[in-house]
């Protein structure tokens, strides 16, 4: 059958998972328990940081910046550079968006992980969740890298090092692995359906 996960199912709150092992799997393994704690903690931390940076971004609009400056030290000599509102707002917007992207990734990861703990991970909805995680990973990676490049070369020359293209290799692997996992889940969901329709 065609795969049409509902939006409600995709973005809805995680299904309640009891604190005892479900009948679906024979007890949660230690790595599963640890992962659940890590993901939940990271999600809560990301939500808090996103809200915090969003508030700071709004405050930065009205904050007088005349008395603030940044010191650029290239090793040989140090110089002062005025802290511009453009730079502050750009950095705050990027950081807030970065953490919002992290929240999205962890939210989908939580939903995905709960289906695993419920003993039914090969659901069509998880395929889209993994693809969205991959896309969000690519977005936050390129956002962080591009923003650093922009700050280093235009907004505050010399303040930070220009990021190298080599820094994108590891995140690129993570993105490729995520999309590969999505395809594995697609095949898993198809096999599950085959089994369901075997009488």
């Amino acid at each position: 059958m065609g795969f049409k996960p509902s939006l409600k199912r995709l973005i809805g709150a995680p299904r309640h998972v009891p604190l005892v092992p479900s009948a679906g799997i024979s007890g949660w393994s230690l790595p599963a328990r640890l992962l659940r704690i890590i993901i939940d903690t990271a999600f809560m931390a990301s939500v808090c940081l996103t809200v915090l940076f969003a508030i700071v971004s709004v405050v930065a609009i009205f904050l007088p910046l005349n008395s603030f400056s940044i010191t650029i030290d290239d090793g040989a000599n140090a110089r002062q550079m005025p802290l511009t509102r453009t730079l502050v707002l750009f950095v705050m917007a990027v950081v807030t968006t970065y953490f919002a992207g992290t929240v999205a990734i962890l939210h989908y990861l939580r939903l995905l992980f709960r289906t695993l703990l419920a003993g039914d991970p090969f659901q069509p909805a998880n395929i889209l969740r993994l693809r969205l995680i991959g896309a969000a990973l690519a977005f936050v990676t390129l956002l962080g890298w591009g923003a650093r490049m922009l700050v280093a070369q235009h907004l505050a020359v010399g303040a930070i090092d220009t990021p190298g293209i080599g820094e994108l290799i590891t995140p690129a692997f993570a993105i490729i692995i995520t999309f590969t996992l999505a395809e594995l889940f697609r095949e898993g969901a198809r096999l599950r359906r085959e089994t369901e329709l075997t009488i």
Partner: protein, 76 residues
Amino acid sequence: MAIRVQLDRLLAERRMSLTELADRVGVTVANLSILKTGKARAVRFSTLEALCRELDCQPGDLLAFEPGPANPFPED
């Protein structure tokens, strides 16, 4: 589907209900209904054996080949 399950005809000939057959074979009515409506992807030999035993027929009486689209279910 190219393979058609002729459960309707066999049940009518034997004046047996789907529920009764399900009880005898040990398969749920829902699963037997999937089989009857041609939505099943595969049939286990054990199920086929039980159906043939209870309906007193051969596998060939239960299944028929009809030229047509092989798989009405597009892949996910």
